[in-house]
Each structure stands twice: as structure tokens, then as C-alpha cells.
């Protein structure tokens, strides 16, 4: 059976060049980068080369890049780090953030901070003017994601960053889904802190980064040694960081051409589905959207049964609503976008990447209509 992976926003296969780059750091270059002897220096050299590669890719200074264990840690460090430096105050975020930001803000509320969760429009876009209106004299941070992981909508970071600058408020953006997929100009966007991750761009899991603009006032969240310029204690994941650096080097080379190719495949998939399956709608912005992201709702079918049905055909997609412990959790993103519940329950996300071919898309178009049609035929809802 053909196997087609359409879940690249969840994770990506490690690029072969990345695997090769990491191997020496499991073996002869195994040292602790904090050690001053030769073994340690070799490990540090590899790690610092990766930092330089990433800094150059972002056009920032290498001292402004800190490594962490993942996007979630980067988000926690950014939001709690700024909040901790101020001690109290108000945070502006949106209702469609990743849980790593949403729940961090909620946890800070329990500690006495205030938070405003901005609404989004039908496409998942935050209105920069809403950011301006939400400002308070005690606002200490604006944290709005660069693009949404579920529907792929690219937020107006430049306009939001401008407002943040006008008022001297730090601007953090979770760019985990955009970094290495589309160009990001941290200077034009006035970004002070930016989370980005390795395993979304064909690097290894367990490593990510946080860009911290020089002069940004923050405290560390985890205490210990003086790693990462005292911003993140703990021995660095050297092989992972070296692989991350390689992954960024490959992205710098391939990003533009791949984005174009993946966008074409995604559009072909959507056009094909529209032509073959009735009662389907697109979620997310039709144009301001990540190249590989296609989120759609199939009415009168439950997300998970489509995911399972496609899985049995060798196709990996993800469900836009999750049924956990018997409680429906229609995606908070789709709810914020105002997608009606009977549609939101049938949301499916297909995210394409470098390994996908035109044949993959044709295969999905061959098997998907039958999966949906069969599930609809079982349902009392669509015939009631």
C-alpha cells in the first residue's frame, strides 16, 4: 500500500544531510560544550557554528539566539521570562495561539498577571487595531503567533510589531510553523522575541531556539548553570543543535523553490477535493497562508473517523477536532474563527512537505472521496 505523509506541521522526517551532520557529535565529538578541554571545545565549536548559521539566516547577532528543548520551552521562556522581569502587568495575546502560549498566559493570570485574548476574523487573522485597542498602561508583552499551525493563516506581524514599538512593549511571536518555510524579517516586523523549532523543518526533535533581541529585559525560567548566556540553564543538546544548524542551512538553500512546489501541490489537492466531495469548506485564509497547509471541514463526518479511514489507506493527516475523554474539543482555533460546530467537528488538516509528490496527491484524491462517502452513508445525521 502506498504511504503518504500529510502531517508536516506535526513533524517532519529528518533530512539525510542533517542526519550525517549529527553523527560525529554522538561519537568522537561527544564532549560537554561547557568543558574547557579539547573534547568540550570540539562540541562547543559545532554548537556555535550552528548558532552562526541560524543567526545569519535570521540576520541577527549570534548572541541573540538561545537554544532550548522545543517550541514549547521557547514560548514558556519568552512569555514567563518577560513577565518575570516585570513582576506584574498585562499581556496581549490571541485566542488562536498554540497551547504553549495560551496556557502559559493562563498560568500567569493565576499568579496575578492580566491577559487579553484577542479575537480573530473568519480567516483567523488578528486585527492590529484590536491590538492597539487592547493596550493598557501596564501592558508588558504582546505575544501573537507568526502563523497559525492549524489553519496556516499568516498573521500581520509587521503591523503588530509597529504598534508594539510605538509603545515600547516587547513583541514575542511564535514562529514555529513559519521559520524555514517562509521568509521572516525580524527587524521589519519589530520582533523582540521569536520561538522557532527544528523538527518542523527536517531537523531533529528535542531542539529549538528563541531569538532574544539584545536589550530585551527578561529572567531565566529554569535555574542551574550559566548556559546560553544565563538565559537557559542545562547542558545543550549538541548533536540536536548541530542538526538544527544543518537543517537551517538546507532550508536557506531550498525554502523558496520548495514553497512554490508545495503550494502548487496543496492547491491541486484542494481543487481536487472540492470537485469530488460535496459539503466541504476551506479553513484559513485563502491567500495569506503557509505553503503546505490545507485545513478543511467535511460536514456530517467526524474528524477522527476520517483520519482513521485515511490511515487505513496509508495516508497520514491530522484531526481538527479532538475527542479526549469523551469530551469533544472542536479546535479552539476554528471556534475562534466562528466555524459552526457541525462543520468544525469534521475538520481535517493536511500539511504537505518536501517528500510529497504529485502522485501522492492523486492517490489521496483517489481514496479520500470514498472514505468520506462511506462515513456519511453510516450516519443518521446527514440523512435525518
Amino acid at each position: 500500500m502506498r504511504r503518504v505523509y500529510l502531517d508536516h506541521n506535526a513533524s517532519t522526517p529528518v533530512h539525510p544531510e542533517v542526519v550525517q551532520s549529527m553523527l560525529p557529535y554522538f561519537g568522537e565529538r561527544f564532549g560537554n560544550p561547557s568543558s574547557i578541554h579539547g573534547f568540550g571545545r570540539e562540541a562547543r565549536e559545532g554548537m556555535e557554528m550552528a548558532r552562526e548559521t541560524i543567526a545569519a539566516f535570521l540576520s541577527v547577532a549570534k548572541e541573540e539566539v538561545a537554544f532550548t528543548s522545543g517550541g514549547t520551552e521557547s514560548d514558556n521562556l519568552a512569555v514567563k521570562g518577560v513577565a518575570g522581569a516585570r513582576g506584574s502587568g498585562h499581556i496581549i495575546t490571541s485566542r488562536i495561539e498554540h497551547d504553549a502560549v495560551l496556557r502559559t498566559c493562563q498560568a500567569l493570570e493565576l499568579q496575578g498577571f492580566a491577559a487579553t485574548y484577542l479575537p480573530v476574523d473568519q480567516y483567523g487573522l488578528v486585527d492590529p487595531e484590536e491590538v492597539r485597542r487592547a493596550l493598557r498602561p501596564d501592558t508588558i508583552l504582546i505575544t501573537i503567533m507568526h502563523a497559525n499551525s492549524e489553519v496556516g493563516t499568516i498573521e500581520p506581524a509587521e503591523a503588530i510589531g509597529r504598534i508594539a514599538k510605538e509603545h515600547g512593549i516587547p513583541f514575542h511571536t511564535d514562529a514555529v510553523q513559519t521559520f524555514g518555510k517562509i521568509p521572516i524579517d525580524v527587524h521589519a516586523c519589530g520582533i523582540d522575541l521569536m520561538s522557532f523549532s527544528s523538527h518542523k523543518i527536517y531537523g531533529p526533535k528535542g531542539v529549538a531556539g528563541l531569538y532574544i533581541r539584545r536589550g530585551t529585559k527578561m529572567v531565566s525560567v529554569q535555574h542551574g548553570g550559566e548556559h546560553e548566556r544565563r538565559r537557559r540553564a542545562g547542558t545543550e543538546n549538541v548533536p540536536g543543535i548541530v542538526g538544527f544548524g544543518k537543517a537551517v542551512e538546507v532550508r536557506a538553500r531550498d525554502m523558496e523553490s520548495e514553497a512554490e512546489r508545495v503550494t502548487q501541490l496543496r492547491n491541486r489537492l484542494w481543487e481536487g477535493i472540492q470537485a469530488r466531495v460535496p459539503e466541504v469548506r476551506l479553513n484559513g485564509h485563502p491567500v495569506r497562508r503557509l505553503p503546505g497547509t490545507l485545513n478543511m471541514c467535511f460536514r456530517h463526518v467526524e474528524s477522527e473517523s476520517i483520519v482513521l479511514g485515511l490511515d487505513l489507506k496509508g495516508v497520514g493527516v491530522s484531526a481538527g477536532s479532538a475527542c479526549t475523554s469523551g469530551n469533544v474539543e472542536p479546535s479552539h482555533v476554528l471556534v475562534a474563527m466562528g466555524v459552526p460546530l457541525d462543520w468544525a467537528m469534521g475538520a481535517v488538516r493536511a500539511t504537505l512537505g518536501r517528500s510529497n509528490s504529485a502522485e501522492d496527491i492523486e492517490y489521496v484524491l483517489e481514496v479520500l472521496p470514498a472514505v468520506v462517502e462511506r462515513l456519511r452513508s453510516l450516519s443518521p445525521v446527514s440523512v435525518a
Binding site: 456530517h300 463526518v301 467526524e302 474528524s303 477522527e304 473517523s305 482513521l308 479511514g309 487505513l312 475527542c323 479526549t324 475523554s325 469523551g326 469530551n327 469533544v328 460546530l341 467537528m345 462515513l375 452513508s377 453510516l378 450516519s379 443518521p380 445525521v381 446527514s382 440523512v383
Partner: protein, 135 residues
Amino acid sequence: MNYSATLINHFRNPRNVGMMRNPDGVGEGEFEGCGDVVRFYLRVQAGRATEVRFQTYGCGPTIAAASAGSELATGLEVEQLLGLSADSVEAAVDGLPEERRHAAEVVVRALNAAARDYLRRQEGWVSPRGGIQHV
């Protein structure tokens, strides 16, 4: 999510799917937590369910549990349907992950509702859509 081979088999090839003309009993179970709906139709002869059919809107485990439940219910006395447990439906799909146990519960509620609808009809009162039991 790890599902048993039996569950996958029922999901792929659900038994007894579809509507029934002029059933002797109809019942729905609805799991309000996640919107899953299962509807069972019963054909009853001499107090036994001789034919059981279902329709469902739900996740894979709910579809599979409804299929397995229809097999379990076929041949049982109506009184036995009222006593059917979620555990027996779960066992019929070789187990459910903890967070999908509602699949067996919603199936049992729907079968119970269909059995009660049959009994009400016997008493001369017919509900247009059968019984509906929310879980």
C-alpha cells in the same frame, strides 16, 4: 491511538449498517460530550431481536462499537437488551482506550433506548423517532 484489530475490522466492515423499514423499536444514544450519535433499529419476533441495524455519526471506535453491538444484540431477548453492559460491548471490540470508552456507553444507551421503545409500542404508544437517551 492504539486500536485492536477487531475494532479496526468493525470500522472497516461495519455489520448491520443502515436504516430499517417499519422497525419494531428505534432508539438513539447521544454522547453530549462529543456529539456522537448512534441510532439502533430493532426487528422483534417472539420477544427476541431477530434483526438489528444501526446508523452512527462518531469517531472510529463509536462506529466499530455500534457494529459489534448490533452483532451482540441480534438474537437476544428484549429484556436482555435492557441489561446489556458497556463492558460487554467493549469486550466485543477487544477493548477500547480509556479516552474512547464512551463509544461502548453510547452504543448501550442506544440499544437500551431501542428496547424501551419496543416495549412502549407493545403498550400501544408509538414515539415518532423512538427513544433518545443522552449520555
